[in-house]
Subunit: 422 residues, 2 copies
Amino acid sequence: MARIVVKFGGTSMANIERIRNSARHVKREIEAGNEVAVVVSAMSGKTNELVGWVNEASPLHDAREYDAIVASGEQVTAGLMAIVLSEMGIQSRSYSGWQVPIYTDDSHGAARITDIDPTELNERMSNGWVPVITGFQGISTKNNRVTTLGRGGSDTSAVAVAAAVGADRCDIYTDVDGVYTTDPRIVPKAQRMTKISFEEMLEMASLGAKVLMIRSVEMAMAHKVRLTVRSSFDDPDAPQIAPDGTPGVPGTLVCDEEEIMEKQIVSGVTLAKAEAKITLRAVKDSPGVAAAIFGTLADKGIIVDMIVQNISDDGATTDITFTVPDSEYDKAVKALENNGGRFEYARLSGSKGGAKVSVVGVGMRSHAGVASSMFKALADKGINIQLITTSEIKTSVLIDEEYAELAVRALHTYYGLDKKDA
Amino acid sequence: MARIVVKFGGTSMANIERIRNSARHVKREIEAGNEVAVVVSAMSGKTNELVGWVNEASPLHDAREYDAIVASGEQVTAGLMAIVLSEMGIQSRSYSGWQVPIYTDDSHGAARITDIDPTELNERMSNGWVPVITGFQGISTKNNRVTTLGRGGSDTSAVAVAAAVGADRCDIYTDVDGVYTTDPRIVPKAQRMTKISFEEMLEMASLGAKVLMIRSVEMAMAHKVRLTVRSSFDDPDAPQIAPDGTPGVPGTLVCDEEEIMEKQIVSGVTLAKAEAKITLRAVKDSPGVAAAIFGTLADKGIIVDMIVQNISDDGATTDITFTVPDSEYDKAVKALENNGGRFEYARLSGSKGGAKVSVVGVGMRSHAGVASSMFKALADKGINIQLITTSEIKTSVLIDEEYAELAVRALHTYYGLDKKDA
């Protein structure tokens, strides 16, 4: 017997037929003798509709009213799921965030869960009930009003509930069937992973593999909640087989590194396009100059991705290069040029249309030379590298967007990630 | 300065433009120096959509889940109204029923309000805030779950809030501009009333004038809450003129009889069509026989309207005639014929296609002969009367449906209700 928290996303709750299919996954787990709690998103499109109304009512609205309105979508799906489960003979009831309660801070629209009282959920689950909980929301301990966690927050709700009730696993049912070694639309030989570590998933998520919200992975890692990513569109009654062919969850398990026996040097290749590069030449180097530059951009709400700094030719100034989204390029250049004397530089150059290609893998930690092998693999295809950044388990390069797919495919093959039978 | 609770129905909250127009009515009251609380319905059509999903999920659903789901519609409109009011410079916040709190019993789907804690509302209102409260719902004191009051319950919510905060008036904004002396589609000369007593409104409501929910009128009468029925589609900035041309609320005031100086003998004429008549001849008269007959029908969920009982020719048995909706006629006849020996009668006869025409007026109490004058007015038009029932302030007759409109027009003219200038 295991205790499982399952979460269904918007496409899995889009209508009664989809809800019924999702409920059959719950039924399978209950019949296997497990204890189950369910966390649900709103019907797909519903949250957008509600947000649209809020913005139409007033672009400058009170975030507390935004939350009161937008939180209603999950109440509907939680109730419907409880009804469908009951009809299948499974004892079930719905809970709004404030009924659990799921306590948050009062950062309305982007609240953080501070505590969950598991008493009621534990009691229900140990008596064979399936509590169905609204994702994406809670109640502020400060003002007793409904809060929402920000878009995609239902994943975070699910992980937090799983941590609170001490679940053995948190199954995230979505419209993809797992995490792939790279985007299968670019590399048809991409493989579905059986396991991936939290650290790798974090890098993958932040690098553009939009399967899980970063916050939910961070929280899962912090509380050691084992996550699976799986499809609610699978036949609920099919045998449960993991991607590697062994019995298990038909999806990807995101877990502690310890659980992964054979570590690949590189687990996945990710791609982010439309990155613009900006270089400031001969920046007068003084303490706080980087803070001044990036503070100027942050003030304009521009998010900077890769940052590289080098000593300049003359040894007294420095060259700083960084990337921003293509769409922010003009705004960023303007902000830097009119910086009000916060910093000085000789020349500004830059261009749009870059692509960031990264290889991710916890195995890098114990393998020297991943970066150099990556550069060689790209050089063999005649791909020029414009920027390089590295972290403990990731190496990223910026290249011309034209070469993006070629680079991803080359690296995927080079690191032995291609599907064998494809 | 007055304290006013205003309620907006579904058509007044149907979209942001409509909500904005409704909010302008609130603004006018605030600018006139009044204290205002708002009670809102869900967007028109929204509750039906939610109920549709519930029934699709399972026709035999838990009423508590029904309530959790269906209550979400008003949360959306309450939040939107608070945002729109804030944008107009009026301090406002939304409250769900459970936040006020509005306490109810635990009859989910048809709950009754047991108590409202006015502390928070009073404090807000006296500080110039406009609290916006979800209509139609509350929280059960027994199980701490969200309850709904049954369809049209927002009127009841508004009256209950008005009673709790000691409001001087409860303005029900709807898509009609008041209560008419009869249906203007039948009688173009129908007049909008300036005032009508609670008792008359109750009779009008139960006789087919579907402007206000009966429960809300009963509650208003019990707590002496003055109600107005007015249109949210009116220009919010137009001068406030009552139907009689005096300054006041542009709509109909439903109030205590005491407030109405000049009492009409007849205030209104109402019509209910598709009434079927059933007569049981020579019913063996014994104590409890009426209870047995109408109990048999109640067991089948058949609602009986008019009931007339007479001594039969032989003096030892009795004739009983009553009406049911046309749609229930066959079911009713079958139930009576197969009554399992609960009562005995000689013959059953009946027919569909009746129309009940009623005249209502508190003035009847002090005027003899209203019934006979009514019968004469109908006889003058050659209309045959099949059944007669009377109450203190109402006289109803059942006639052939063919003559329904003719009868209504004749009585409307006869009692001097026709608009003078039309």
